[in-house]
Structure formats: C-alpha cells, structure tokens
C-alpha cells in the first residue's frame, strides 16, 4: 500500500487510474502529471520510487482538487442563484441550465440540480 495525498492505494493498481480517483483529475491531468515526473503510462503504484511518491504528493497538494474544487464549484452555483440569474434559477428548479429541451431526457438535472446542491 502506498500513500498518495493521504489515500492508501494498493500496489497493484495502475498509477494513472489511481490519480484519476481524485476529484478534479482526469485523463489529461493525470497523463501530464506522469509525463512531468517521467513515469511511464502503465506504471503500477508499487513501482514508484519513494522520491516520486513524495514529488507527486507535493504537486497534488498544491492543486485545486477534491474538497477545494467541490467547494469552488458549489460556490459558483450559489453565486448564480444569489444574483438571481436565469442559470441560477434553473439550478434551483432542477431543470437543465444550458438550454437543453425539457420534454424528455432531463434525468441528470432532475437528480442533481436542487437547492442544496451536492457534488
């Protein structure tokens, strides 16, 4: 088990997938992280040297990911609601925000867009 940013990852896991398990890190960011530290794309967590783990953790801790990023997104939505914009209203009503049709296929906004929005 290897600790990266306070999370314990099994050694057999792919490092790229493990990085992508953080909120805010996707395919592109994780690829760029690997390239930055010269880690090959199919590296397993267990193959990392100690220094690489520390480097990765140092960089990740400076990035806006996980709760910081969630808070930022929620704050943005809150600001929209408070300023009374159309987008904010759509967020609050549980309706699609970006002009999609509402006749069918709006399961996702129904599920997600509500007054107490969660991420």
């Amino acid at each position: 088990m290897v600790f990266i940013l306070g999370v314990n990852f099994p050694e057999r896991n792919l490092l790229k997938k493990s990085l992508q398990s953080f909120f805010g890190i996707g395919n592109d960011t994780s690829s760029r992280l690997l390239a930055r530290f010269n880690i090959h794309p199919t590296c397993r967590v267990g193959e990392l040297a100690n220094k690489q783990v520390l480097d990765l953790t140092a960089v990740l801790s400076e990035m806006k990911i996980e709760n910081d990023l969630r808070r930022e997104v929620l704050n943005d939505i809150k600001r929209l609601k408070e300023t009374g914009t159309y987008r904010g209203r759509r967020h609050a009503l549980g309706l699609p925000v970006r002009g999609q049709r509402t006749r069918t296929q709006i399961k996702t906004p129904v599920k997600l867009n509500r007054m107490e929005r969660r991420l």
Binding site: L34, A35, N38, I39, H40, P41, T42, Q105, I106
Partner: protein, 510 residues
C-alpha cells in the same frame, strides 16, 4: 357451449348454481379469444406497479425495462499472470507427432552444406534453452506440431551460414567483417525464423548473441524510463528493459562470457576487478536496474575490445564476433508512447537503448571491432506505418539497383509528407570503412519448388500430411501459398485432410 348472454336483450343469463364449477377450483371465469389453453390455469395477473398514473412529477413516459441481473460468475479468476503465461507459452515438442527418421541436426557442417538445401534441420536439443533465453521462438509459429523443432535450410539460410563461416573463419580478408542487413518480406515469409536461424548459427559458432526480440516493448511505454541528467536534448535510459536485455544475454551466452575476463576500465563501475569474468560484470546490472545501463555499456566495450587496457593485460582473450538481432524495426521509426516533461512525445531515437542499436547500422565508424553481424528485421504482424522508413527502404533498394543518390530517379520523400529527417538520416548511404560492410536490404520471398517439396515431405514424415507427394501436388501447393510463402505452406501442411485412399508418403515416387 351455450352462450351465457341472452341474444335478444344482451343481459346475462342466470345459470343454476349447481352447473357452475365451485369457486374453490377456479378463481376467474373468462373466455379466451384465441387461446386454446384453459384460462383458469393461467397465473392471476399482477398489479402493474409502473402504471402511468403512478408516475411522479416530471418523470418521462418512456419505456422502462428491468435490467437483467449480471450472472454471478462463481469460478475463481485465474491467478495474476496466468493468462499471459498461457498466451505466451511456447511448446516446442509434440509427442503425438512421428519422429522423422534420418533428420539431420543444425551444426557448423550442415549449415553450409548445399546438398541439404530444402531439408528440415533439427535445432540441437542442447541449444533450445539458449534460444528460449534470447526469446527467439515466438508463440504461434507452429513448433508444437512436430516432435522436435526444426527449420528449413533454404537459400537465405545457407547464405547466412556461409557468412557465419566466413566471419569466424581463418581467411584474413573476411575474418572480423561486419555484415549489416535489414530483413524485410511479405507476411509469413519467415523473417523472425530467419533471425532464429541466425541466433542458432551464432550459438554454434560460439558467438555472443544479443537480441531484441520485440522492438515494440521499448517504445510502447510499458517499461520505466528516466532522463539522463545534463543531456540536451534530453535522452532517456530504460533501466528495466536494459536489465532484461542483460538477463537474456547472460542466460544465453553464459559459456562464452564466463571464459572472458574484464580488460578495460569503466567509468561509473570502479569496483571492477580484472579477475572478474564478463558474466560477473553483466550480472551486476541484473540486481540493480539503476546500474543496468552503465553495465551494458561496459559489457559492450568489453565485447568490442581488441586489446586490453594498460595494466589489465592479465589473461586477455580475443573477443568472439557478435550477432545482434532486432525484430520489428518499424516501431523504432515512429513516435513512442513516452512523454517528455513538456508533454511532447519522446522520439524513439532519444531513447539511448534504441539509439545504441540503431547507431550500429552506420558503417562509417568501427562498431563491432571483432566482427559480427547485425540483422534487423521488420515485422508484418505488428507493424506501425512509418512513411519515413518506407522511403528509407525504397532508397536502399534503389541504391542496390545501381541508382545514384544524385539521380532524379532516386526516391525522395514527397513534398509536405512530413517525413522524419532523423529516420531518413539513418538510411543515408555511408561508405564502407575497413571491415565494416554497408547496410544491405535483404527481402525474403517464397521457397523454391524444391525447397517446398522438402518442407512438405517433412510434414508427411511427421504424420501430418497423408498425401502422395509428387511434383504436381507440390506445384499446386506452391502456387496456393503465394509462391512458396512458408507461413502459408505451413497452414496448408498442417491442415489434416482425409484423402481418398490412404497412401504411405513415398518421397521417391513421382
């Protein structure tokens, strides 16, 4: 049956209670329109929970089907690596196949014997471990249908044998020559097996055999890489791949390497003693992957040394010639899956491992000072398209046909084709210097009809083919296989067909 309705006023008729069946046996009495099955046996209809009236606010009226539950797989999955091991498994013998009587073995004598052309020579059993160590066998080459592994002595193999004979022979003009070849050919023409034959001949002649069985592994981003500090543009070492290369080399050549002693001083490896053998030296890089690249460089310097360094003359033995084979060359001519720090793709020629083996193709500097052979084969089964390589090979063909590089007929990359200058540079003509031969292109084609006959007779003698092998039949198979392409011949030969009459294979009868 009488209708329960009154036909005049359409009111239900009263039925005497005694006629009705008792309510304990049937719950509902209805008539079924088109069914002949008794309705009372049907299951009572369930209440439909998902009726439209129960839909919540703003729920779509779309058809919802229950998802099928995934069937739970109770079987235990195979252990880690087991499936890959099965996939990569190499079976070299089949006890059900007949033993071929009078089958000759590959040996220094038979590999140059023109009379044996077209016959299948067995690989010496003692050598199989060495060949396995250098990964000369590949899965799906059909070794598992015969009693013992063997290869056809075709024209190209005989020429190869003669080259080996010349380079390690006593003739001062030929001894210590370096032969460089790129081997191409259509799919199934035997390029990889040609490399295997070369490795086998190298072992027979006590050469040092160094192989890269799959060039793809070095560029596919599956092995670790790290930049060399201070290199500009950045170059990268691949410690684990180098370690694997050393392992292959040590396992396969342990007898030769044990007989040679360290004779040079190497930067970065201060604790080497002159009493150490080259095998000990190579093994330093096996345990510690970080050391593997300096160790490989040291081993290479030792193998190409012609004289000992001052102060280390004790027990210096002249080094044997070296055979280097690489399979799947075109992977080294496209981009890699590795990324540089700025997220750009690493060029394969920036990997020092790849660069080392590619630099050997240049004949302007002495590379293998004790002679040897470089055989780099392209692959057709796993072949990325590389326009620059195509142009480079075309240029080589043109040069071999006598077209001058200054002539307008000389192939050049098309305008705006974005050909890779580093790849083209590799195939530029270089003059032969001393014993360094220029880079040649060898195209493997099909077997001749006589060789085809010898090869198919081997199938018959192994009990696979039950045909009367005569000129006409062989000629037919030769045409069917696209002019003797050996991979296609193997498919034809291993396809067991039931003949009209069981005739013993008699090679002498026409």
């Amino acid at each position: 049956m009488a209708s329960p309705w009154c036909w005049s006023c359409l009111s239900p008729l009263r039925t005497p209670r005694a006629i009705l069946p008792s309510s304990t046996t049937t719950t509902r009495i209805t008539t079924a329109g088109f069914h002949s099955t008794a309705v009372q046996y049907a299951m009572p209809a369930k209440k439909n929970k998902n009726s439209i009236t129960q839909l919540k606010y703003r729920q779509g009226q779309t058809l919802r089907r229950k998802k099928k539950k995934a069937t739970e797989n109770r079987a235990r999955p195979p252990a880690i690596g087991e499936r890959k091991a099965m996939r990569k498994r190499i079976v070299l013998s089949n006890p059900n196949a007949l033993e071929v009587e009078g089958m000759q073995e590959l040996s220094p004598e038979t590999m140059i014997d023109n009379r044996l052309r077209g016959s299948v020579l067995g690989l010496p059993v003692t050598m199989l471990d060495q060949l396995r160590a250098v990964q000369a066998f590949k899965p799906r080459q059909g070794w598992n249908i015969f009693r013992r592994p063997g290869t056809v002595l075709r024209r190209d193999a005989l020429e190869l044998g003669q080259l080996f004979e010349k380079i390690s022979g006593d003739d001062p003009a030929e001894k210590g020559k370096v032969v460089r070849k790129i081997i191409t050919g259509p799919k199934g023409s035997g390029k990889t097996v040609h490399l295997l034959q070369a490795a086998a001949m190298g072992f027979l002649k006590n050469w040092v055999v160094i192989t890269v069985p799959d060039a793809y592994e070095l560029v596919s981003g599956t092995t670790s890489y790290s930049p060399i500090e201070g290199s500009n543009p950045p170059q990268y070492v691949q410690p684990n791949a180098t370690s694997a290369l050393l392992k292959r080399t040590v396992e396969a050549n342990s007898k030769v390497l044990e007989s040679l002693k360290v004779s040079q001083k190497h930067a970065g490896l201060e604790n080497l003693k002159p009493t150490m053998t080259l095998k000990d030296l190579a093994q330093l890089g096996l345990g510690d992957a970080a050391l593997s690249w300096p160790v490989f460089q040291a081993l290479w310097a030792e193998l190409t040394a012609t004289s000992p360094a001052p102060g280390m003359e004790n027990g210096f033995q002249s080094r044997p010639p070296t055979l280097v084979t690489v399979d799947g060359l075109s992977h080294w001519m496209t981009k890699t899956a590795y990324r540089a720090e700025d997220y750009s793709f690493v060029h394969p020629h920036d990997l020092v491992f790849v660069q080392h083996f590619l630099s050997l193709l240049k004949s302007d500097k002495p590379t293998l000072k004790n002679g040897g052979m470089l055989l780099y084969a392209t692959s057709t089964s796993n072949n990325p398209s590389s326009y620059s390589l195509e142009v480079g090979l075309d240029q080589m063909i043109a040069r071999q046909d006598g077209v001058s590089p200054t002539s307008p007929d000389y192939p050049a990359p098309e305008a705006y084709s974005n050909a890779d200058p580093r790849v083209l540079e590799l195939f530029k003509p270089t003059a032969a210097s001393g014993k360094e031969g220029v880079l040649e292109l060898q195209t493997l084609g099909g077997l001749t009809r006589e060789e085809t006959r010898g090869y198919l007779e081997y199938f018959a003698q192994s009990g696979l083919l039950r045909e009367n092998i005569n000129e006409k039949w062989v000629s037919e198979r030769w045409s069917l296989s696209g002019g003797g392409i050996i991979g296609e011949l193997e498919k034809l030969g291993r396809h067991v067909s039931a003949p009209a009459k069981l005739a013993q294979p008699t090679p002498d009868v026409e």
